[in-house]
């Protein structure tokens, strides 16, 4: 049982390949965050709109995204839509699944943040002649993003880790996909996944630190 001999040298040879995969991982995570943020802001506006249909739609999205497994969300984007004749590539399905998840969680974070911003802020903007959308965009949203900054950063880390679920829909170019392929060819399971884990860790940490640096530059009040 303990006859397994580590072969780090062989595994490390694959490092450049894995780093290429890491780049794809980062790319999906960043893209999913950017799109997720935009959709989350739209969902937040829907929920504030007072329109039953719009706010119902947004609430349903948030509820489903937060209360079903992320894996199912990605499956649905790939196989679920596939049953309706919409065939997305593994890359796109993974992206769609994570965007769905991100948008739901972020919208919920935004709702919490909005509670901390008094209505009088909007009122002050409106009384200067701003439209309600202008007051939201120029006054409420910047404050909301600041208050929700920490949970947004957490979601970014979560998005990075969620990309590993892509293998289940045939994704083979991201870090987990590449690692899985290497493993299938060599059976150096422990080495490859240990290296991949370290890379995930480094990316996640780097993103957190970058976010913190960004925050301290941006939020000077």
């Amino acid at each position: 049982m303990f006859s397994y001999t580590f072969q780090w040298k062989q595994a490390l040879k694959a490092l450049p390949q894995m780093l290429d995969g890491a780049l794809v991982t980062l790319q999906i995570a960043l893209l999913s965050m950017a799109i997720g943020l935009v959709i989350a802001i739209i969902l937040t506006l829907f929920r504030m709109s007072g329109n039953r249909i719009l706010s119902g739609f947004a609430t349903a999205w948030v509820e489903i995204a937060r209360n079903t497994p992320a894996l199912f969300q990605i499956y649905m984007a790939h196989f679920g839509l596939g049953s309706f004749g919409i065939h997305l590539s593994p890359f796109t399905s993974l992206l769609v699944g994570i965007v769905f998840n991100n948008a739901g969680y972020l919208a919920e974070n935004f709702r919490g943040a909005l509670k901390a911003i008094p209505d009088t802020q909007t009122r002050a903007g409106r009384s200067l002649g701003m439209s309600s959308l202008q007051a939201f965009r120029l006054i409420v949203m910047p404050q909301m993003l600041r208050i929700a900054f920490l949970p947004v950063t957490n979601q970014m880390v979560w998005a990075i880790l969620m990309t590993s679920l892509g293998v289940t829909v045939g994704m083979n170019t991201d870090l987990t996909g590449v690692t899985q392929d290497l493993n299938a060819r060599s059976f150096r399971t422990f080495e490859f996944f240990a290296i991949a884990a370290v890379i995930y860790y480094v990316i996640a940490k780097a993103v957190t630190l970058a976010a913190r640096a960004f925050a301290s530059r941006m939020f000077r009040y």
């Binding site: 008094p118 009088t120 802020q121 009122r123 002050a124 903007g125 409106r126 009384s127 200067l128 002649g129 701003m130 439209s131 202008q134 120029l138 006054i139 910047p142 404050q143 600041r146 939020f219 000077r220 009040y221």
Partner: protein, 240 residues
């Protein structure tokens, strides 16, 4: 000219304005006094259309504020309002607070908006504070910033709702001085206030509100020295 005709307004069961009739001429300074809950704030928010009314009309320079066809965003550029709570935008510097609406609402260039903002902030004595964030300033300074922010839109009318009530007594004077300056410059103003001395000094007329009714309106000497209405007498006795 602001014409208020038989305006009624309720919140649920509670009728807060019970048929207000009032005309404010260009260049006039009107102060509004009255007990808590008498409808003073509500009247101001109805004047610039932040609150709808149930009956009557408010007409500003020929524009019916509450008509469906009225562009309220446009109208509000003409009617500035400053509240008891100054509502500084915390994420913007003092200069940015004042520049925001001229840029985004009036569509001025950055340089134009900045010139206006600097002028208004200098006017209210905040020239030294341009790049400071509001939370680094006293309440009085933040309130003066809020006044500059409203003035930067070049309004023709200004509404002030107890702008000194949330301030430390020490800081009341500097804000009242700002209002006095505006009054002396000919700004048309409606000031809700509890500062009787100030009201007497700056007003052309003083209106006394009681339970949703404008019980009395008169020049300050008359209203303060020879009030006609029993409730006015009671109120003034209680505040002196």
């Amino acid at each position: 000219m602001i014409e208020i005709e038989n305006v009624r307004k309720s919140f649920g069961e509670l009728e807060v304005l019970k048929g207000i009739n009032l005309t404010v001429d260009k260049g006039e300074v009107l102060t509004v006094i009255g007990g808590s809950g008498s409808g003073k704030s509500t009247l101001l928010t109805c004047i610039n259309g932040l609150e709808p009314i149930d009956a009557g009309r408010i007409v500003i320079d020929g524009t019916d504020v509450h008509a469906k066809s009225t562009n309220l965003n446009k109208l509000r550029q003409k009617v500035g309002i400053v509240f008891q709570q100054w509502n500084a935008f915390p994420h913007l510097t003092v200069l940015e607070n004042v520049m925001l609406a001229p840029r985004k609402v009036l569509g001025l260039s950055k340089a134009e908006a900045e010139a206006i903002a600097v002028r208004q902030l200098t006017h209210v004595g905040l020239a030294e504070k341009l790049s400071v964030y509001p939370n680094r300033m006293s309440g009085g300074q933040q309130q003066r910033m809020a006044i500059a922010r409203a003035l930067a839109m070049s309004p023709e009318y200004m509404l002030f709702d107890e702008v000194t009530s949330a301030l430390d007594p020490m800081l009341v004077g500097e804000v009242l001085d700002t209002l006095r300056m505006l009054a002396s410059e000919g700004m048309t103003m409606i000031c809700v206030t509890h500062e009787m001395k100030f009201a007497r000094e700056v007003s052309d007329r003083v209106a006394f509100f009681h339970q949703g009714v404008m019980a009395e309106i008169a020049p300050p000497e008359q209203l303060f020295d020879a009030p006609q209405h029993a409730e006015t007498k009671k109120f003034l006795a209680a505040t002196h």
